[in-house]
């Protein structure tokens, strides 16, 4: 019976990553494209490595700040010109 044990373990395998490997996987982790053992491995590492957890927090804070840029607007003059061009094109 003993010989079945390694197989049973293989099902629950969680990949182990070093910190330098881990920081390279964060985008893939956030995009949810890692295979199961890698995904679980990243999660396990983050839950017990303070440094990587902090780095991950900062990584996510960076993404939040990026999404918080002030809105841009086409200058009114350009917009007016484009509306006229559209109108002219359609014989208005």
């Amino acid at each position: 019976m003993k010989r079945f044990i390694p197989e049973t373990r293989a099902v629950n395998v969680v990949k182990r990553f070093t910190c330098d490997e881990l920081v390279e996987l964060l985008t893939a982790y956030l995009e949810d494209v890692l295979d199961r053992p890698s995904h679980d491995g990243v999660r396990a590492h983050l839950s017990c490595c303070e440094h990587c957890e902090r780095y991950f927090e900062q990584f996510r804070a960076t993404i939040r700040v990026l999404g918080d840029q002030p809105p841009e607007k086409l200058p009114a003059g350009v917009r007016d010109r484009l509306m006229s061009a559209f109108r002219e094109r359609h014989g208005g």
Binding site: T62, K73, L82, M83, H90
Partner: protein, 212 residues
């Protein structure tokens, strides 16, 4: 604008039919919904705000001229953005900014501050904790710094992080517009995020030092 106040545009076939029929409300809705993202994307390739505005203007003029020939092989948004990217690239090439192209094409960004793994892949000196962005002044400064950081990225990274993180487009949309693979897109996005995080860390580090 009023007709689509929720920010949601109707399905493509409705949009295209309306544009061909000269529906001004529809054209205005597209202009107001997409132009801000288009300005930011254009800026990834050209050097000044007026240049970016001209790229966006020329793109819309091409859309007005070309809508009758639109074949629906991609979404209308992808079609418009591809025209934009091509227009911006050409223009950027003409301006060729001040640095040689090779410098822009290099995607390698040196590992930023505070991140070093001398000890068998473990952290050497971990970065300091960031202050929570309480005051409005700090938040505004961080926003400005982030805009500046985007400007320092190589164009391919900049355009991907702009579409994904600043404008919130999906990975599928970005891959389709830029005609790159999902894996390639992810690498560019990751490098860009890593670089921007590094510059923010430098900034927070300097704020902390100033406080001491």
């Amino acid at each position: 604008m009023g007709a689509f106040a929720g920010g949601r545009l109707p399905p493509d076939d409705v949009v295209v039919t309306a544009l061909r029929a000269g529906d001004e409300t529809m054209f205005a809705a597209l202009l107001d919904t997409w132009s801000r993202g288009m300005l930011r994307v254009a800026r990834s390739y050209v050097s000044t705000d007026p240049s970016a505005e001209e790229v966006v203007q020329d793109t819309w003029l091409a859309v007005i001229d070309g809508i009758d020939g639109f074949e629906g092989r991609s979404s209308i948004k992808t079609w418009v953005y591809r025209i934009l990217v091509n227009t911006a690239k050409k223009r950027g090439m003409r301006e060729s900014r001040t640095l040689p192209w090779s410098a822009f094409e290099a995607d390698g960004v040196p590992f930023p501050d505070g991140v070093s793994f001398p000890d068998g892949g473990r952290w050497g000196e971990p970065g300091a904790a960031w202050p929570s962005p309480e005051g409005e002044a700090l938040a505004a400064e961080v926003r400005a710094l982030t805009a500046e950081a985007l400007g320092r990225l190589p164009p391919r990274q900049r355009v991907v992080i702009t579409m994904r993180d600043v404008e919130g487009y999906s990975s599928d949309e970005v891959c389709e517009i830029l005609e790159i693979s999902a894996a390639n897109q992810r690498v560019l996005l990751h490098r860009a995020r890593t670089a921007v995080r590094g510059w923010l860390a430098d900034y927070y580090g300097s704020v902390k030092q100033a406080e001491q």
